[in-house]
């Protein structure tokens, strides 16, 4: 695995990616996206948000996708996670060719394999922390006792063992995001997608959240794809991919680069 924390010469690659390198062939990827294109209509004109992106992520890798706003990083996340169908290209996630599946089966794939963490915490105001986590497990048809225990474990893992019975209105932003992480991770997903997970949090809480996310992902052996423009998160990643104007500009950027910008 490539560790971005090791100082390494920055290579700015020309986009799009060259054809697969020899070592990539036959390798098993957690996510293998090829030729992803997506355009949106903005008023009268079509805007190409993704202009043919290839993305290869190894199992267990924690990958940060960074780039300026409007660069297409969130659209890329949506396309590879099965939330939004790209105009062209293919996404093979955990050996499943996602966009060849009917919508119902994509839902089922996400239920079984994907955890999501969003910028907004999106917690139901009516539910306690424990219930927030359990609700997903309930839809996965887990038994009551099992999901209660799983929720408790997941919340303890994010250091919220004392908050099991609290509703969101009694929790701080950092705590809410930790509940959202517990909700995403309680079902032991193999793929975790995070979209600006720290942008609603202050620096300290952001650090706590990312430390926990990294720790839990590593413990569970999950692959993490995290989209952010928060340079401070660079230290938490195994690898940083930069994207600009719908094209990948680097598949292994130097974290130090981002420290400079800020």
């Amino acid at each position: 695995m490539i560790n971005p924390l090791r100082k390494k010469k920055v290579e700015i690659e020309d986009a799009p990616l060259p054809p697969p390198r020899p070592e990539e062939v036959g390798k098993r990827w957690a996510i293998e996206a090829r030729g992803i294109k997506k355009s949106f209509k903005a008023g009268q004109v079509m805007v190409d948000v993704l202009k043919g992106i290839d993305l290869l992520i190894e199992p267990g890798e924690i990958v940060l996708v960074m780039g300026p706003s409007g660069s297409g990083k969130s659209t890329l996340l949506a396309a590879v996670s099965g939330l939004m169908k790209p105009d062209s290209g293919s996404v093979i996630a955990l050996d499943t060719n996602l966009w060849k599946l009917p919508r119902r089966k994509i839902d089922r794939f996400r239920l079984a394999n994907c955890g999501f963490i969003f910028q907004g915490f999106n917690l139901f105001p009516a539910l306690t922390a424990s219930q927030q986590v359990q609700i997903v497990l309930k839809f996965m048809k887990q038994k009551k006792a099992a999901r209660k225990a799983a929720a408790e474990t997941a919340l303890k893992d994010v250091n919220l063992g004392h908050r099991l019975r609290n509703r969101p209105d009694r929790m701080s932003g950092g705590e809410k995001q930790r509940v959202a992480i517990a909700r995403a991770l309680a079902k032991k997903p193999k793929l975790i997608f995070a979209d600006e997970p720290t942008s609603a949090l202050d620096g300290e809480n952001g650090n706590v959240v990312m430390t926990l996310l990294r720790k839990m992902a590593k413990e569970q052996g999950a692959t993490v794809l995290c989209v952010t423009h928060d340079a401070r998160l660079a230290t938490f990643a195994d690898r940083i991919i930069t994207i600009e104007d719908g094209l990948i500009t680097s598949t292994n950027a130097d974290p130090a680069l981002f420290a400079h910008h800020h």
Partner: protein, 381 residues
């Protein structure tokens, strides 16, 4: 507890409008019919409260409404011995009904009253079951009458006052409770007084009240009724009290203009209920749409989320029914205090409950479209 129920209980303010809309829709559907039933019951108080188990009407009668003998003509005197032929019949009495003009002293205009004629013999078959011995004795003397406490003001008399009834002098000897009548005040007198006033008809009767012996269960009553009807040979028809009151209410509800008004009320109540409940549910779902979208992202199917919305609408319906019942109890109490008795009948109560549930379920179905706004991809910045 399910997501739907927790949300409803925790964010009850958000759903209040729907619950109130359902409650009001229920009242709209029920109040008018309850008022009509109440009016009808105030005319038939002596039948409902009589100590008889069976009622004999003419053979053609479909219910109590529509004139003597239940709209099928009067019951002739010769029917009485026919009823006595049944070994279980112990007493048969006619229950006369009359109207009269009531003048209180010093009052310029007469009031029209509904005259109920009863037997004042102890435990008489036509003696209302809530009459105490003192009440019975109070109207035993000639020209003694009783009125309901609620009509004292309207009639302008107090206990012990003299008044003119159909040209004869009568004395108010009894003030009753529970005989309110918002149309024509109820007045009760003994059979003897009616005879003295020259208004008795001994050859033709409105209806006959029948007491049977050894009644243990409703089954005994039904058995005697069936046996009496088997012996009737087209000369009369025997009814149980419940059967007659149900038939009468149904008959009344289906009658022309009333049926149209009630049907109209139901439709208005339904439409208003659906629109308000739908919009409230929609607003509430849209307020939580990001939470729903995040569940979608995590792989919860749209069908499962639809289940949540439908469950939510079901619970809103249940709450609406409860609120409606509460409101109706309040309105009935208010109406009673204003001398407008209301009557409730199982059939229309059940019908209203079912309609309210239908309103909420339909609103839930209409709300399902709102879930489409919860695209998980929209959660990504």
């Amino acid at each position: 507890m399910s997501l739907a129920l927790s949300t409803l209980l925790y964010e009850w303010r958000r759903y209040m409008a729907a619950v109130i809309a359902l409650a009001l829709a229920g009242v709209l559907m029920l109040a008018l019919s309850a008022m009509f039933i109440g009016i009808m019951q105030s005319f038939t108080a002596t039948i409902d409260k009589s100590r008889a188990q069976l009622i004999i009407l003419s053979a053609q009668a479909r219910s109590m409404g529509g004139g003597p003998g239940g709209g099928g003509g009067a019951v002739p005197k010769r029917v009485v011995p026919l009823i006595y032929r049944h070994p279980d019949v112990v007493e048969v009495q006619d229950l006369p009904n009359d109207f009269g003009q009531f003048f209180a002293e010093g009052k310029p205009n007469p009031s029209l009253v509904n005259i109920m004629v009863i037997d004042t013999t102890p435990n008489g078959v036509t003696l209302p079951d809530d009459f105490t011995d003192d009440m019975r004795r109070a109207i035993e003397p000639p020209y003694a009458v009783g009125i309901d406490v609620s009509s004292m003001k309207q009639l302008g008399v107090n206990l012990g006052d003299q008044a003119m009834l159909n040209g004869r002098s009568v004395r108010v000897a009894l003030i009753m409770d529970g005989y309110a009548n918002s149309q024509f005040p109820n007045l009760v007198m003994s059979r003897q007084t009616q005879r003295l006033m020259g208004r008795a008809n001994d050859n033709q009767f409105d209806m006959l009240m029948v007491r049977i012996k050894d009644v243990k269960t409703e089954k005994d009553i039904v058995r005697v009724r069936d046996e009496l009807n088997a012996m009737a040979d087209g000369q009369y028809r025997a009814w149980t009290k419940d059967e007659l009151s149900t038939a009468t209410i149904r008959d009344m509800m289906q009658e022309g203009i009333l049926a149209i008004i009630l049907g109209f009320m139901n439709i208005i109540g339904f439409v208003i209920g659906v629109v308000i409940t739908w919009q409230t549910l929609r607003g509430a779902i849209l307020a939580n749409i990001k939470e729903f979208a995040s569940l979608r992202a995590l792989g919860v199917s749209i069908g499962q989320l639809r289940g949540v919305v439908m469950e939510l609408s079901f619970w809103v319906g249940i709450l609406g029914i409860a609120a409606s019942a509460l409101l109706m109890v309040g309105i009935a109490a208010l109406a009673k205090s204003a001398n407008i008795p209301m009557g409730f009948e199982a059939g229309s109560l059940i019908q209203t409950g079912v309609l309210l549930l239908l309103i909420s379920i339909m609103s839930g179905a209409l709300t399902l479209g709102a879930l489409k706004k919860g695209e998980p991809a929209d959660l990504l910045k």
